[in-house]
């Protein structure tokens, strides 16, 4: 539980409020070889769950906080995102959607 704070929350802190049942297998796979050639890297700024991060210019992806919105699939200019929904009900469990 996060009481409304007068400083910015980090996206991970916000995601902590949610109920999850994380799949053991990633439902999204990224072909990182294509990321090397991608200069704008829109996934990093636009994935609302912050699943794409930059570490020394290298893109890292973790599927655990994914809210299954589909943004990365559409904004990726290199078709590097192999996207699917999690299997059998896994993933985010919205209660107040």
């Amino acid at each position: 539980m996060t009481i409304q704070q007068l400083k910015k929350l980090k996206v991970d802190e916000a995601l902590n409020a949610n109920v999850w049942d994380v799949d053991e297998e990633p439902h999204i796979k990224v072909d990182f070889s294509k990321c090397v050639e991608c200069d704008t890297k829109p996934c990093v700024r636009l994935c609302p769950a912050g699943c794409f991060t930059l570490l020394d210019k290298e893109v890292l992806f973790s599927y655990e906080g994914c809210v299954e919105c589909g943004t990365c699939r559409i904004v990726c200019p290199k078709d590097a995102v192999d996207w699917n929904y999690p299997l059998s009900g896994r993933g985010v469990q919205y209660r107040f959607g």
């Binding site: 409304q4 996206v11 636009l46 609302p48 559409i74 904004v75 009900g89 959607g97």
Partner: protein, 423 residues
């Protein structure tokens, strides 16, 4: 489980469950397949639904549905760097209510189940079955289930229709991305801080710097004990303009007055995001029927974005309702030709009428000045009118001074005429 049904519905959102409910009531043997653990667990939206279409479909809807508050107050705020200008509308009556889409979807699915539909959750459909050129069922992993007709209610991310080759891959210019935080505040604080009576709700829309430098809008909805605050940005504009992580834009809004005061002591109970079809008919496939299948709801691109409010849920539900009627009328012949009556029925209904009537709103929304220049202008004008030092300006003087350098008179005049022409 049986391996054959009269109808299979993919997706238990408002569109799918309403189609299933209507068909089950007519005596059809219906299967609904939903990927979520329960219907509604994967859906997220803003917060307000227009009631009339739903009242027509579900008997005693107002009594039985999980309605949170009836919207009696509307606010529209033009936000600028230096401050904001707000219009407030209050009414004794109401035609729309707030509800959690998760709960409303769950309720609709329960109505379908009571009427006799079989609802299977936790199952992700991987593709349609296609035999001899027609859709004959669905495949999920190793399992295949067949039906006379399949209804696609999969929502905006149309993976199944894309795999079928029925629609091209979704493009960023066709959708907007919505982010939403929900805070538990308690009904007393909500009513006190917003001047609402018991069960009375507010729908609040913000434009301008609410979404920083990205064209879009922001919203606040009151539920019984919680308040949702969110932003919606045009995805292609966000790709172009976002200078920081998109969540930061929402956080900046939350920390700006009046929202920081309004949400004081609130507890964050959920954060989520979802895509929405952006501009009216842009996402509608050329045909919403084929041999053995029909398309409803967001998957069909049937959503009306008026800028200040979105009508998706009532449109989705009503398209499901019409699809069910079309299937009954088809009388067992589920060829494309026979199912085409669905599209005729849509054409005659309020759905297509409204979507066509408002095509110009969609055009207006492509005009970036409405998201940047004009909210800024509205604030600047009010600022000049109210916050003077010595010489109080006339309205005309204030108007002249504020428009100067911001936008040409001709541009402004043309844009205003565009708005004034109405739908």
């Amino acid at each position: 489980m049986k391996s054959r049904f009269d109808v299979i519905v993919v997706g238990a959102g408002p569109a799918g469950s309403t189609a299933a409910y209507t068909l089950a009531k007519k005596g059809f043997d219906v299967l609904v397949v939903e990927r979520g653990r329960s219907p509604g667990s994967k859906t997220l939206y803003g917060g307000r639904v227009y009631a009339k279409p739903l009242k027509e479909i579900y008997p005693e809807f107002e009594k039985k549905a999980p309605i949170e508050r009836w919207v009696k107050k509307e606010r529209m705020t033009f936000m600028a760097e230096g401050g904001s200008l707000t219009l407030e509308y209050s009414s004794k009556t109401s035609t729309s209510f707030t509800a959690y889409l998760s709960k409303l979807s769950e309720w609709m699915a329960s109505q379908a189940e009571e009427a006799g539909a079989v609802i299977v959750t936790d199952v992700r459909v991987d593709s349609f079955l296609k035999e001899d050129g027609r859709i004959t069922g669905v495949r999920a992993g190793q399992d295949e289930v067949r039906a006379g007709v399949v209804i696609d209610a999969e929502g905006v991310n149309r993976l199944l229709l894309e795999r079928l080759g029925w629609v091209p891959k979704l493009e960023k210019s066709q959708v907007a991305l919505g982010l939403k935080e929900t805070y538990r505040l308690g009904s007393e604080k909500i009513e006190e801080r917003l001047g609402l009576g018991k069960k009375e709700g507010m729908a609040w829309f913000m434009i301008g710097s609410a979404t920083g430098n990205i064209p879009g809008g922001a919203f606040l909805y009151t539920y019984q004990n919680t308040v949702a605050l969110g932003i919606v940005v045009f995805l292609h504009k966000a790709v172009e303009h976002a200078q920081q992580h998109i969540f930061e834009y929402l956080e900046e809004l939350r920390l700006s007055p009046p929202f920081s005061n309004l949400l004081k002591d609130g507890v964050l109970v959920e954060y989520g995001a979802h895509l929405t079809p952006e501009l009216g008919l842009k996402l509608k496939p050329p045909r919403l029927y084929g041999d053995g299948f029909l398309i409803v709801g967001d998957a069909a691109g049937l959503l009306l974005n008026l800028g200040y409010t979105v009508r998706g849920v009532d449109f989705a539900a009503y398209s499901g309702y019409l699809a069910a009627q079309a299937i009954e009328k088809a009388g067992g012949d589920y060829s494309a030709r026979s199912l085409s009556i669905y599209e005729d029925m849509l054409e005659e209904s309020f759905i297509m009428r409204e979507l066509r009537r408002h095509v110009r709103v969609s055009k207006l929304m492509e005009n970036e000045r409405f998201f940047t220049t004009y909210p800024e202008l509205a604030f600047a004008l009010a600022h000049r009118l109210f916050e003077f030092e010595e010489t109080s300006p006339t309205f005309l003087e204030a108007f002249r001074e504020t428009t100067k350098g911001r936008v040409s008179k001709l541009r402004l005049l043309l844009d205003m005429l565009e708005v004034a022409r109405g739908p």
